[in-house]
Subunit: 191 residues, 2 copies
């Protein structure tokens, strides 16, 4: 077992890589550890890396004018994380990303990924599918905020993130659902 | 000048195709004409094709419980259009797509595009970049609805869609901005 196992399993979901290709990829990967609550990206900074969560959990959030935080997405192990608009355009980020737990990351810098696309063209396929899936996820998330009840959104959260509920604070789940922690606790009791 | 010129120019933004590749692509392309107000996709249907707008303009919208329509996106010439979540997962669509003007489309079916990815792997790169750009656009759109004033959103609309304003009905622009036509007309007079 190497530190790349989870990452390479993730690639294997969509593409088949040979040994030289695997070597080219792993030689481009960098690693980073975050302690709980450490910031990975701040709104306004340029998101220079695309992260793969090897263990732990990130949250992606925004802060409104009143200082309240709104959780947009959680990224537990095997998820990819970035402010995609910031990363792909190398422009200032809209989101902030922080660790909810001690978190181990593997990542590609923007430049190293651009170079890898040339050396390992199969990665275009992988990241095309990843971008499409991310797009769909984000679209569903927006639609559910607009058109679903809090109870339905809670069910969708449980389905999308099995077992995550026991790991992270109530307030973060409530913020993801757009409700108060008190209301979340009422929904849970009702179930 | 052929019917494929605009489409091939669009591909050339991100990838360089040789003559056999161009032939494989053009042999997979299909065409469709829509008259003004004709529906291309209805909420709940599966979006089976990815469309390129050769001329005219589409609008992508949702309908709420009260029957009011909300314009999410306009797709004039040179834009790609689909319910991306529906197309990439072949699941029921959340959005409805209709023609705002007489519109000429080129399109790939889901199956023919999957086949083309095998025959012309460079297309993975093109559609990776397209998916990333679409993701970014959608993210910006959501963020601007959440955090920008109507005046700012109007400025963003004008920037994203130069000259479109003169072609489409006020009510559609107002719906895109999330305001009433009367309020839109007030913003315009102020400028």
């Amino acid at each position: 077992m190497t530190i790349f196992d989870r990452l390479l399993e993730n690639f294997a979901l969509h593409i088949k890589l040979d040994v030289p290709e695997l070597q080219q990829i792993t030689s481009a990967v960098q690693t980073r550890c975050l302690h709980k609550d450490e910031l990975l990206l701040k709104t306004g900074e340029i998101c220079r890396n695309l992260y793969f969560v090897d263990s732990g959990c990130l949250r992606v959030y925004t802060q409104d004018k009143n200082g309240s935080e709104h959780n947009v997405l959680f990224c537990p192990e095997n998820w990819w994380a970035a402010d995609m608009a910031s990363f792909s355009g190398q422009v200032p980020a809209y989101y902030t990303i922080a660790a909810l737990e001690a978190t181990e990351l593997l990542y590609f810098s923007y430049q190293s990924l651009e170079q890898l696309y040339i050396e390992v063209p199969k990665l275009e396929r992988f990241f095309r599918i990843l971008a499409q899936n991310g797009f769909s996820l984000y679209q569903r998330r927006v639609n559910s905020i607009i058109s679903r009840s809090a109870e339905e959104r809670y069910g969708q959260f449980q389905h999308l993130y099995p077992k995550l509920e026991r790991r992270i604070a109530q307030k973060h789940i409530a913020s993801y659902l757009g409700i108060t922690p008190v209301f979340l606790s009422m929904i849970r009791k009702k179930r």
